[in-house]
């Protein structure tokens, strides 16, 4: 048995992990590579059923479980993009302005995840250059991966039930608070302050006096 992190770094050629195969088998935070089914032993959070837990690559070259590492426990905004389509759908340009407004919260509980719809072209290195060009700070993660694994993400998070496929989904911007299972969506080209405000809607404020009235 290896620790989960060790497993992640050692599993370059894993088959896609469908979320339906992700079951809890006890308190262990370990994962075994002994079966074809690649059972994830880590119990899912409240939003686990909404997200495929496939292995992806980030623009920094890190291998990550999509749900466990990028979504779970976080407030997150999620969009679809590709380097080639940015000219036609300038969503990354718009989200760069959202990033500025999120400010210090970025990377401190609040994250932005941009998923390429062109994984054949958008390698981690290409995404890294693209992220740098748009001034992405720590906490804004660009994601690519094996096309079949990425397909699982499009199917679950893409618009129109996922069946329209990649390339027509660049205007959906999903956002939510994973530990509280609050999820909604808005328009990726909406005014940046409106998108930044939405990330605060899903925060949990238990003290009403803390809000303006």
């Amino acid at each position: 048995m290896k620790s989960r992190r060790q497993f992640l770094s050692a599993s370059a050629a894993l088959p896609a992990l469908a979320l339906s195969a992700c079951t809890s088998t006890g308190p262990s935070n370990l994962i075994t590579a002994s079966t074809e089914s690649r059972i994830c032993k880590k119990p899912g959070g409240p939003s686990a059923k909404y997200f495929p837990n496939v292995v992806v690559m980030t623009h920094t070259g890190r291998r990550a479980w999509f749900y466990d590492d990028l979504i779970k426990g976080k407030i997150v905004g999620i969009n679809f993009m590709s380097v080639k389509s940015e000219e036609q759908f300038p969503v990354t340009q718009n989200l760069a302005k959202v990033q500025e407004l999120v400010g210090n919260k970025l990377g401190q509980g609040t994250f932005m995840v941009s998923i390429t719809t062109d994984p054949e072209h958008d390698s981690p290195a290409i995404l890294e250059a693209f992220a740098k060009k748009h001034g992405a700070q720590e906490g804004w993660i660009f994601v690519t991966g094996k096309p079949s694994d990425m397909q699982a993400i499009y199917q679950k998070l893409g618009p129109h039930g996922g069946y329209e496929g990649a390339g027509v989904n660049h205007h959906i911007w999903r956002y939510g608070n994973e530990p509280y299972a609050r999820w909604a969506a808005s328009h990726a080209m909406a005014q940046p302050h409106q998108l930044a405000q939405r990330l605060s809607w899903v925060e949990v404020n238990k003290e009403p006096n803390s809000k303006k009235a």
Binding site: P46, G161, H170, Y180, S186, A213
Partner: protein
């Protein structure tokens, strides 16, 4: 109960498309089903969704819940209402005041489910209490948010309650951006006066529901809906009324509002909602938040007020025994005369008031209300229709002995339509409902609360052309504040006997449909919205924002409240 849509789909798959769609031409707009077929490949049914658990429930086990009627308070509000927050407040001083507290509580959707389901509701009721309002009697409703701030689940514990189709000021309309967070409250002032002071503009069956921006589908699904009924000197709510003006429609316990929602539950018995932006179809039909219930009826006339509460499903309701509906109201507006229909087609948010006469039945008889509309995806029906007697059961009517004479009537004449004067039209506009880049759009854009899509001069009339740019989707379009009349449906006027020849607030657009609407904009100033009432589409930006501005000439009614009111901090009084 087992949901039978798959069985029927398979059983009926040899039927030609369109077979059986012609039996109720009176009950829906001409042409609305033409070409209305979803692609048959890649079927995803409510039953197949892994989040939706099959509890193997039997139908007709639980009685239909009769929604309690709201009762006013008899003590002053603390803090008092702030009149400066409301247009024309002193002209329409509230004569009754109500308090509703929004909370989370447990609800039993069906006695065969081994779990209680967490829901949201009003004063412990789901659906919320029914308001019985009267013309000439303004009311104030204070709503407190006592929902759990740390709620775990798809809904957002932040509400804004829209009183659907009521004619009242923007600040009392439950605008998507007028939300109220936990620990706060909002005062809603309903003038209960007909639009333009015209008695022909009076309304009957309205409803209230959540309208929180981006979270309308989730919050409605959790339970935030209820009825608001209006009565007047004709629709008096008393079938024994000796007044010559009274219609004497079935009343009291024979006047039953019924809200339809379809739901799915997870294996833990909690409400399950998918993330599909096309819309959501539930596994189970509910009426007044009970799964496939039964209602004991006497052999006499009943007024049923059917409302499709969504989130996404379309219905074509029929009675399996050939019993007919006497349709008396469409979208909460009495028709010029009753329309007899075999079936009624309800898109989300639509209402039909019908009178059903069970007098031909003996005690012990059973009549099933069924949904004949086939739908396998959220975006709209397939266009096929189940044969009568083979639809999905929605509820059962069980005939029991008569307890007294039936003094109610079905009048020959009800309420005439206001005359349309096209010379009053100052502006024509086109709104195209479509999708782009994966989001639902109006005129190519997603909703932006800071962008005003139309300025309208108070007192004027306008013609709006509403077009469905999609080839596979149906959209029930809802316009707030003022009701419209249909001038043309796909280039043709409606027949006089068409049940949609009515004042309306929901327009069902089939693929490619184009409809011309006429309306006035009267009595108040300020912002309102138009949106698709498939609330999943609405939450995915299929909405616009319009504004009534002061007239260039003539008197101004109302005033823009600036700054716009915000939620106020406060907790409910003792006993609530």
């Amino acid at each position: 109960m087992t949901n039978t849509s798959r069985r029927h789909m398979l059983k009926l798959s040899m039927l030609a498309a369109g077979a059986g769609v012609a039996t109720s031409q009176q009950a829906f707009g001409a042409g609305s089903l033409v070409g209305n077929l979803c692609t048959p490949d890649d079927l995803s049914l409510a039953e197949d969704d892994p989040g939706s658990h099959d509890f193997n429930l039997s139908p007709f086990v639980d009685p239909l819940p009769i929604i309690p009627v709201a009762t006013p308070i008899n003590f002053p509000l603390d803090p008092p209402i702030d009149p400066a927050r409301h247009q024309r407040y002193t002209e329409f001083l509230p004569q009754k005041t109500y308090i509703q507290v929004l909370r989370e509580f447990d609800h039993q959707y069906h006695s065969g489910i081994p779990f209680a389901t967490r829901v949201w509701g009003f004063n412990g009721n789901v659906p919320g209490q029914t308001f019985h309002a009267r013309y000439g009697e303004p009311v104030l409703i204070r709503r407190y948010n006592q929902l759990p701030a740390d709620h775990v689940g798809f809904a957002l514990p932040s509400f804004t309650t829209h009183l659907h189709n009521l004619h009242h000021a923007s600040e009392s309309d439950g605008m998507p951006w007028d939300w109220v967070d936990p620990g706060f409250f909002w005062d809603y002032h309903h003038v209960n006066a007909p639009a333009g002071g015209d008695p022909l503009q009076k309304q009957t069956t309205q409803w209230y529901h959540d309208h929180r921006m981006d979270f309308t589908a989730t919050n409605v699904y959790m339970g935030l809906t209820g009825f608001y009924l209006l009565f007047d000197n004709q629709d008096t709510g008393n079938e024994h009324d000796p007044s010559p003006s009274a219609f004497r429609l079935p009343s009291g316990k024979y006047d039953i509002p019924m809200i339809l929602h379809d739901i799915s539950l997870g294996e833990d018995g909690q409400l399950y909602l998918s993330q599909d932006t096309n819309g959501f179809l539930g596994r189970y039909y509910t009426v007044n938040r009970k799964i496939t219930p039964f209602l004991e009826v006497e052999p006499r006339k009943y007024r049923f007020r059917f409302l499709n509460g969504g989130p996404s499903r379309f219905y074509e309701l029929g009675l399996n025994d050939g019993l007919l509906f006497n349709v008396i109201a469409n979208d909460g507006n009495l028709l010029p005369k009753p329309v007899i229909a075999e079936t009624i087609k309800l898109s989300v948010a639509q209402r039909f008031d019908v009178i059903v006469d069970f007098s031909q039945y003996q005690p012990g008889a059973s009549i099933i209300l069924e949904n004949l509309m086939e739908q396998i995806r959220g975006e709209g029906p397939t266009g096929r229709k189940f044969a009568k007697g083979e639809g999905d059961p929605v509820m059962e009517f069980r005939v029991v002995p008569l307890t007294g004479p039936d003094k109610s009537r079905i009048p020959n004449e009800l309420r005439a339509l206001p005359k349309i004067n096209l010379k009053e039209v100052k502006q024509e506009r086109l709104f195209k409902f479509d999708y782009f880049g994966g989001m639902w759009t109006v005129n190519g854009q997603g909703f932006d609360m800071d962008r005003m899509d139309a300025y309208i001069e108070q007192g004027s009339a306008e013609i709006w052309t509403i077009r469905n740019g999609g080839t596979r989707w149906e959209h029930p379009i809802h316009i707030h504040f003022e009701e419209f009349q249909i001038l043309e449906f796909n280039g043709k006027p409606l027949q006089e006997s068409d049940v949609n020849n009515s004042r309306k607030d929901v327009l069902t657009l089939g693929p490619g449909d184009e409809v011309k609407l006429f309306f006035h904009f009267r009595d108040f100033l300020g912002c309102h919205v138009m949106h698709c009432h498939n609330v999943v589409h609405e939450d995915h930006t299929m909405m616009i924002h319009w504004h009534i501005a002061p007239p260039k000439n003539g008197p101004v009614l109302g005033a823009i409240i600036e700054p716009r009111p915000v939620m106020r901090l406060g907790t409910p009084p003792a006993g609530f």
